[in-house]
Amino acid sequence: MSIDARITDDLVANGVEFITTVPCKQLAGVIEEIDQRPEIFHIPSNKEDEGMGLCAGAWMGGKRPAIIMQNTAIGVTINTLATLIQYYRMPLPMLISYRGELREPVACQVEMAVHTKALLAQMNIPTYHFHNQSDVEELDMILKYTFMCNKPVAILTDANFWGGYGDQ
């Protein structure tokens, strides 16, 4: 089974029905996969803070949400994470493409990569780093944990996890 199908299966198995995305090349396969699942309503957003607003509303409406985004968006969403998701105590799994890590071809991506874990730690956001494909085995538990504790939880997925970035 492809890694994209495996991730999507875990989302569906955990009752995630509302997913918003801002794309990244590494996430293209999983976005394509969720689009094919009738259990999931997929609504692309234009910016990740907007997406978190959509997820907050969906959760209050009784649907389990998730956001799929790139780690550069941590720089966009600090205020929304603090004053909406954390302040009102809402669950939000964040499946994050961790650009700027090993096998990254674009130098500028490293500039946010070096801040990503520090920012998440500063925000007291539980953070998991998927580096090898076998790490995906923890996703099911991470999703259960997220909806148990009503917190935003970050799942950082680097290029090595996705099997390399392009020709790298």
Binding site: F18, I43, N46, G53, G61, T80, L84, Y88
Partner: protein, 184 residues
């Protein structure tokens, strides 16, 4: 008319609906005029009233009214294409457009200058956009609810704020009683 006068007039309509209310003075005014468990007060996160309301409307069948401001829509302009392409029949975005940042001292916004939010909403793909004067808000809001069509309302009014205390209710209490109202 200023925003608080509009809210006073439409309070009897709002009290039977799910309302997501914009950060700052708009939430303080609605809270003082007619506090309801079915009101979700934003205590932070400028700009996301329309996004939270859209997510809520897409997730369940009850009518949702997002009360927003011109300044807040301008800070989250990406919301208009998302609404334009996904709006369900039970979502109403009511932009109270007083041409100013009311909560921060009434500094002018671009919506009070050359920028036309109703035209921007139409250009973003919103099919039902109504632009009205403040005094017509009640009937227009009721018509939007009755139509069962997703609607963006731009309500033109004067700049100004009523004096009310800040909301001291705990955010988790606001959210919990709101979710119970949604589920009831």
């Amino acid at each position: 008319m200023i925003r608080s006068e509009i809210l006073k007039e439409i309070a009897p309509i709002l009290r039977d609906q799910l309302v997501v209310c914009n950060i700052g003075i708009p939430s303080q005014e609605l809270h003082a005029i007619d506090d309801q468990p079915s009101n979700f007060y934003m205590l932070g996160t400028m700009g996301l009233s329309s996004s939270i309301g859209l997510g809520l409307a897409l997730a369940q069948p009850k009518t949702v009214i997002s009360i927003d401001g011109d300044g807040s829509v301008l800070t989250n302009l990406g919301t208009l294409p998302t609404i334009g392409n996904n709006i369900p029949g039970n979502f109403i975005l009511m932009i109270i457009d007083n041409g100013s940042y009311g909560s921060t001292g009434d500094q002018p916004t671009y919506a009070g200058m050359k920028t036309d939010l109703a035209a921007m909403a139409r250009a973003a793909g919103c099919d039902n956009v109504v632009e009205i004067m403040a005094k017509d808000t009640g009937p227009a809001l009721q018509a939007a609810i009755d139509s069962g069509k997703g609607t963006v309302m731009v309500v033109k009014c004067e700049s100004g704020n009523a004096k009310n205390p800040v909301i001291t209710m705990d955010p988790v209490v606001i959210r919990d009683r709101f979710m119970k109202a949604v589920a009831s």
